[in-house]
Symmetry: C3
Subunit: 341 residues, 3 copies
Amino acid sequence: MGKSELFGRDLICSQEWKKEELDKILELAKKMKKDRFSPKYTKLLENRTFFMFFYNPSVRTRQSFECAATELGGHAQFLEPKTMRLKTEKTAGETVEDAAKVMSRYACGIGIRILEDKISYYGQGDELLREYAKYASIPIINMADDKFHPCQGLADIMGLKEHLGEDLKGKKILITWAHGALARSWCSVQEAALICSRYGMDVTIAYPEGYDLDPEVMEKVKKNCEENGAKFEITHDVREGYKGAHVVYSRNWMSPNAYEGGEFHKQEEIEKALKLTSWICDSEKMKLTENALFIHPMPIDRGHEVTDEVASGERSIIYDVAENRLHVQKAIMALTMSERL
Amino acid sequence: MGKSELFGRDLICSQEWKKEELDKILELAKKMKKDRFSPKYTKLLENRTFFMFFYNPSVRTRQSFECAATELGGHAQFLEPKTMRLKTEKTAGETVEDAAKVMSRYACGIGIRILEDKISYYGQGDELLREYAKYASIPIINMADDKFHPCQGLADIMGLKEHLGEDLKGKKILITWAHGALARSWCSVQEAALICSRYGMDVTIAYPEGYDLDPEVMEKVKKNCEENGAKFEITHDVREGYKGAHVVYSRNWMSPNAYEGGEFHKQEEIEKALKLTSWICDSEKMKLTENALFIHPMPIDRGHEVTDEVASGERSIIYDVAENRLHVQKAIMALTMSERL
Amino acid sequence: MGKSELFGRDLICSQEWKKEELDKILELAKKMKKDRFSPKYTKLLENRTFFMFFYNPSVRTRQSFECAATELGGHAQFLEPKTMRLKTEKTAGETVEDAAKVMSRYACGIGIRILEDKISYYGQGDELLREYAKYASIPIINMADDKFHPCQGLADIMGLKEHLGEDLKGKKILITWAHGALARSWCSVQEAALICSRYGMDVTIAYPEGYDLDPEVMEKVKKNCEENGAKFEITHDVREGYKGAHVVYSRNWMSPNAYEGGEFHKQEEIEKALKLTSWICDSEKMKLTENALFIHPMPIDRGHEVTDEVASGERSIIYDVAENRLHVQKAIMALTMSERL
C-alpha cells in the first residue's frame, strides 16, 4: 500500500501531463471498469473527503464524480459557492488563499467547475482553478472550466480505444461546430482536440466563419499533430471535414465575441447560432465518413447538434463515453489522492 | 450472496406488485427494524449509488431515503433538477432517454419525486416516472408522484400490522379529507386506499362534495375490496365514516379542478379548502370509532387536518409510521438493487 | 465497545458543560488529530446519519462537519430548511416537535446553524435550538447560533493549547471588535470569552461605544474569571487591550441595535461599522502585545478585521484553529453519538 508517483498532482488540462502519465490513468480506468467493485479499489479513499465546487450546475459531472468517490470508499461533498461566502469583486468574503489552505486540511482533493455565465471573460474560470492550485496542498481537478475539460478528454480517448483499438494513430477525428440553443463553452472541444492529437489522431476542426476557438490552444494542437506525424486541418465547409473521418464529434460552441464588454451575451449567441441550421450532424453527412463513430460529451442538444437518427444510431458511442467519465475519474482520484494504492 | 427475484423491478405503485411481493418487502422491513445495524444488512449496497431526483422538496422522503442508503452501506445522491439541465418543453437540455441511459451506467437505482406545482395536469408526474422506467435499466422507485406513493403505503401497512396485528382483514380504515393550507396531492391517500384494500381492510373514503379522487383509482380500490370480501364506501358526511373505524387517516387533498387550464391553482384551492372548517379530525369525532388509531403520512398541518389532542394522543401512531418509511425503503432497495442479499 | 458518559448530550453552549467534560472532548480531539484515520475512530458512526440543518449558509462549518461524519464512518446529510416544509409564523408546515421526533427515529444527531438574517431578534436562533433539544431524543449540536458557537470555542482552546502549552492560566486574550463589511453575529466572540475564562485566561474585550455584547453573557464571563482567579476587563480604547496580550482575536460584530423593530438592519450596520477604520488589527498594534498569537474563526474579512501582514504572519494560527474544528467535532460526535466507543 502506498501512493502513486502522481500523488498530489493537479489535473487542469491533459496537455500539462506527459503522455505516459495519461496512459497510467487510462490503464487503471480500464482495469476499474472490468472489475468495478473489486476490494482492490473500494477502500482507496475510505473515510476521505473530496470537495466538489460547482460554480455552474451539471448533470453528468456531479453524478459521475460523486459516484466515483463512493465507489472508492470515500465521500464527495457537493458544494455550491452561492451557498458559501467566498470573496468576489463585489462582496466581502473569504479569499481563495484562505479557502484553499483550510480545505487542504480537511480533504484529499478539490474538483472545480466554472464556465459560461459565471465568468466575465474567456479564461477567467481557468485562472480561478490555477489560483486554487497555487494555494492548495491537495490536488485540484478540473471538472470543466472555460478552457479545458481533461476528464471528458480522457473519457473520449478511453471510448475511442474501446471501439477503434488501442492504437489511435492514423484515425481521423472531425470536431465540428453545430448550431444549438445553449451557447456552450470551448472546454470540451478544445480538450478533445488536444488529447486526440497527443494520441496521434488526425484532427479536423470545422466551423462557420466567426467561430474560431482559442488560437493558443489551436497552436498546441497543431504542434501535437506535427510531433506525432498527424494531420491538422481547419475548414469552414460544413461537409468537407466528414470525408475520411473515423470519428465525428459534433457540438455547439459560442463565438469569440460571447464575452464582449465583459458580459456573457448568451441570448445573442443562441440567436446567432440557431440561424446556421445546416450545421447539424445527420445521416447524410455521416455517409461521407469511413463509417465513423459518433461521440459527444453530453448532454446532447438533439435536433440541433445532431439528429436522433445519428445520436441513437448504431455507430453512436455516447453512453459508453459517458460511462467512462466514471472510470477515468476514479482512476484520476486513486492516482492523485489515494495513500492506499 | 445473490439477488432476490425482485432485483431490477420498478416500484411506481403498490397495485402493480403482487401481494406476495409486497409481503416480501414487509417481512424484510420487519427484520431490518428489529436488527437495524446487523452486518447482514450494512453491506447490501456498499459502494453503490442511489440517485434521488427531487423535482419537489421534501423533509421525510429525503431524510429517510438518504438514511436508508447509508444504513445499507451505500450513498444516496441528492439531486434537484433545477440545478441540472434537463430538457423541458421550454428549454434545451437533456432528454429523459439520455439521462436515464447514462444514469443506468452509474447507479443501482433512481428515486423520483414530482407532484403539486411541478406539473401542469394530474397524472403528468406519474407519466414522467414511467418514461424514466422505460429507458432506465435500473429500478425506478416512486418517492411520491401526483398519483401514487408506494413507500408511504407500505409504511402505513407496516405500522397498522404492528398495532392491530398481522391480519388486517375486517379492520376498517376511514380515509377522510381535511381542510388545510397546503393543497395536497392525491398520492398518499390513493396509495393508502389501494394497499389497505389489498390487505383486506374495509375502506371508507369521506370528503365534501367536489373533492372526488381519481375515478380509475377508486375503481381499483373497489375491485380490491370485492376480491378480498371487504367493504368499500364513499360518504360526504363528515361524521358518518368514523363509526366503527379501527383506523382514521385524516388528510387534506386538492380538488379535481386544481389544474384547470393547465395551471396549478394553489391559492384558490387553499382558500376554498380553508372554509370547510368542520372537516378536521378531533376527539369528538374519534369517539365515534372503535378506539381507532390515528395515522397520517406527515408532515401534519396541525389545527387544520387534525387537532393536537388527536395527533399527539395515545392512539396516534404517526411517528411509528414515519419511522417505518426508513425500514420499508431499506427493504425495497435491498430487494430491487442489491447483488449481495 | 460502548457509549461514553456523554452519550445523548446536547451541546448548545460550552458553558453548560462541566470543564471535565470539555476536557474529554479536547483529549479525544488531540488523539484523533494525531492518528486521524486509525481504525479506532473510522467505524464509530458507521452506517449512521447525522443531520445538518443550515438555516444559514457556511463554508467551514459545512465542510468540517460533513468531513467529521465521513471520517467517523458515518454520513452527514446537508439539509437546508428552504428546501423543506417546516412551519414558520407565516406558512403551514411541520412543527419543530414533529420534525424533531421523527428525525430522532432516523439519525444519531442533529446539527443546527441559524443566525444573522434568519432571525428577527437576538436570541431567537438559540431558542430554536433549545426547542429542537426539548423534543429530540438525540443530541442537538450547535453549529453556530446567534448567541453561541461551542465547536468554534473548543477549536480555539485546542489551538491555543497547541501553541501556548496545556495550561492557559495567566495567559491574556484580547477579543477586539473590528470594522468590516459583514455585520457578524455575536456567537463566536461570546463563546470565546466564555470558554477562555473557563480555562483560566485573562479576558479583555475591546470595542467602540455602542457595540456592547450580551450583558448576561458578559456577567458569566466575569464570574468564570472570578472563579479561576483571572482578570476580566472591558475597554473602549482601540489600543489599550493589546498591552500584555498573549492572544489577539479580532473580529467584527453587529451592534445591539441590529434587530431594532424586529428586522435585521444589515446594511445600516455595515455602513456604521465601516466608518470606524481605526478598529483593525495591524502590526503596529500587535507590537504592543507579548508577541501575541493571532486567531480568528474565519472566514476573515481581510483589510477590515485584520491586515494581511498579521493574518498571514508568523504568529497567526488561523489555519490550525480551522483544522481543529474538524477534530473537536469528530470528538463531540464520537462522545455524544457513538455506541461503539
